[in-house]
């Protein structure tokens, strides 16, 4: 039996396979090392970093929803300095491609982070998060206005030679317009989708469950919205796509790739089944073999072609 070529090329970024773990769901790469060696992954994406440390929002930060969950973590993170000093050296040892997710409250924030993150480390790319629904200024506001999204990308682009991934918010009327904006801002890759804005109310206390009232909806529930958006953007914009949103099985991953994703990212599924990313890697390989493809690249965007 011939081996299937799982290597994936995203703009300049080479991955050993197309399976990535999503920002905010995989800590800083160590938490899941008790289950398997993270170097088996195509890449890992770390929790969103901001220039200064953040405590994030108060608890409760989580609420379950049908086939999904809400979170309002609010970008709790150690800040840029501590990331560089304490986390990056440990990430270096994981021997896997690292994507650093950066979030800001102003254009300067993005500029600062882009210029501070080293270009010659395990960092394979920066994921520019313009879509976090859990913070008040900045965050999603950048991700729902095409002009501001373009600006964020332009500024970030100026301050680093690392490949830039623009992470899109699904909370928009026209995802294609947003994708075109970040493309013209200089994004090399598009990742999508971040969480949908949602909320739940506790019928006993009659208050919102989340201390922050609203939160980001993730998990299988949002999969059909994510597949649709990947499909639309693949058709309209000529950049590689990292697809995510509710992927919990290799079948889901295949669906995203057929829709046009060159790689996939696994988020909420890690919480339910820590082995999901590895099961997805072998499921993708097996699917290609069974269907007679020699390389995983052959299935990208097939749903547009047949």
């Amino acid at each position: 039996m011939k081996k299937v070529d799982l290597t994936t090329q995203l703009a300049g970024v080479k991955l050993k396979n197309p399976v990535i773990t999503a920002s905010g769901t995989f800590g800083f790469g160590e938490e899941y090392a008790r289950f398997y060696d993270p170097s088996l992954l195509g890449a890992i994406t770390v929790k969103g970093i901001t220039p200064l440390p953040r405590l994030g929002n108060p608890v409760p930060r989580l609420a379950e929803t049908p086939s999904g969950m809400l979170n309002s973590v609010g970008l709790e993170n150690p800040g840029l300095e501590a990331f560089l000093k304490s986390y990056l050296p440990k990430l270096e040892k994981l021997k896997t491609a690292v994507i650093v997710n950066i979030s800001g409250f102003s254009l300067d924030d993005y500029a600062l982070m882009a210029s501070s993150l080293p270009e010659d480390s395990c960092i394979a790319a920066l994921e520019v998060n313009i879509s976090c629904p859990n913070i008040k200024q900045g965050g999603m506001a950048f991700g729902t206005d095409p002009r501001r999204a373009e600006e964020v990308l332009k500024v970030t682009r100026k301050h680093t030679r690392l490949p830039l991934i623009a992470k899109l918010s699904p909370n928009v009327t026209d995802i294609v317009e947003m994708a075109k904006a970040v493309a013209s801002g200089g994004a090399d890759i598009i990742s999508m989708i971040n969480t949908l804005l949602g909320m739940r109310i506790d019928i006993k206390t009659k208050k919102p469950i989340l201390a922050n009232t609203m939160g980001g909806l993730s998990g299988p529930a949002i999969l059909p919205v994510a597949v649709r958006m990947v499909y639309q953007v693949y058709k309209a914009v000529d950049l590689p796509i990292i697809g995510m949103g509710g992927i919990s099985s290799w079948q889901d991953a295949v669906e995203f790739m057929l829709a046009g994703a060159s790689a996939v990212s696994i988020g909420t599924a890690n919480f339910v089944n820590p082995m999901a990313p590895l099961e997805i890697i072998s499921g993708l390989e097996e699917y290609c073999r069974r269907e007679g493809y020699h390389s995983i690249k052959e299935i990208v965007g097939l749903a547009h072609k047949l």
Binding site: G24, G27, L55, P60, N71, V73, E76, F271
Partner: protein, 294 residues
């Protein structure tokens, strides 16, 4: 860490409070420590999506069995109640840090309602020839106490006192009253000053009765947040070190999602977050900041 364990027993203990006893056979028992928990998958489908955290209430290493007790609180535990013997359950565990195990002195256990469950495993594991034990347990009423654990406590020969909200057993009222009179009766010359954090940095010594010990008495508490806050305040004020087992809504259970944090005051006096699942669920009472503004 991800395991399929076999259900040996899933038995309704108290039909009114809907409390079940669940005995599982598998590998968790090999390494579990008192105060840790398991993260259970309650449905093979995508809904309910998340796992449910349940404390380990009994560990039988020889037989490879753990015992859990759970209250039917919502959809997830409702599904759990339907699980039958011989089925398997998918779980991650053991997770969390567990209680500090003292090797001497006196340990005061403080339980609020179903907060008794994780304390069972501590009771079981302590060397009671060396550690003096006292348990104070506050609950709704006599029926609950009897259904859930009085028999177990008596079989174990544990010295306990109870309080009930309706006065149907023991002292009427809250566990705080029980605690205050207990400390008063004993008239401990324990801590001469109240314990706080920072300025009173946590040292292992507090828990080491063989060292130069300020307090031969230490406390461990588990129960609703309001009760934990109240008993912690009393204990610290009397100079009694206390460990509390916290609960928070969880997604990953392994420290990756930052969903389950509590607020602590670090050694530098600044507020910080810790993850209940990974850095806890057991915390030093002095570091916990109960109200974020605090």
């Amino acid at each position: 860490m991800i395991r399929e364990e076999t259900v040996l027993q899933n038995q309704l203990l108290d039909p009114e409070a809907r409390i079940y006893k669940l005995v599982l056979k598998g590998k968790v028992a090999e390494t579990a420590r008192p105060g840790q928990f398991v993260h259970l998958k309650v449905s093979p489908t995508l809904d309910p999506l998340l796992r449910r955290p349940i404390s380990i209430a009994g560990i039988n290493r020889q037989r490879g069995e753990i015992t859990l007790y759970y209250r039917v609180a919502g959809r997830g535990t409702e599904l759990l109640a339907g699980v039958r013997e011989k089925q398997t359950l998918n779980l991650i565990g053991p997770l969390g840090n567990g209680f500090t195990m003292p090797s001497g002195g006196e340990l005061l256990l403080l339980a609020g309602g179903i907060g008794i469950f994780p304390l069972f495993s501590l009771l079981e594991a302590l060397d009671r020839t060396k550690v003096k034990l006292k348990l104070l347990w506050g609950a709704e009423n006599r029926r609950f106490l009897q259904a859930v654990g009085l028999k177990t406590l008596e079989q174990m020969g544990v010295d306990y006192e109870v309080s009930t909200l309706d006065g149907s057993m023991g002292r009427q009222g809250l566990i705080t009253a029980l605690l205050e009179s207990y400390l008063q009766e004993r008239n401990y010359t324990i801590g001469t000053q109240s314990l706080k954090f920072p300025g009173d940095p946590w040292t292992k010594k507090d828990w080491d009765p063989t060292g130069e010990e300020r307090s031969p008495l230490r406390a461990v508490a588990c129960g609703p947040q309001g009760m934990l806050k109240a008993v912690t305040a009393i204990c610290l004020q009397k100079g009694v070190p206390i460990e509390v087992s916290l609960e928070e809504r969880m997604a990953c259970g392994v420290g990756a999602c930052l969903g389950c944090v509590c607020t602590v005051r670090g050694a530098d006096g600044a507020l910080a977050r810790k993850r209940v699942c990974q850095d806890g669920p057991v915390f030093d009472g002095r570091e916990v900041v109960w109200d974020e503004e605090g």
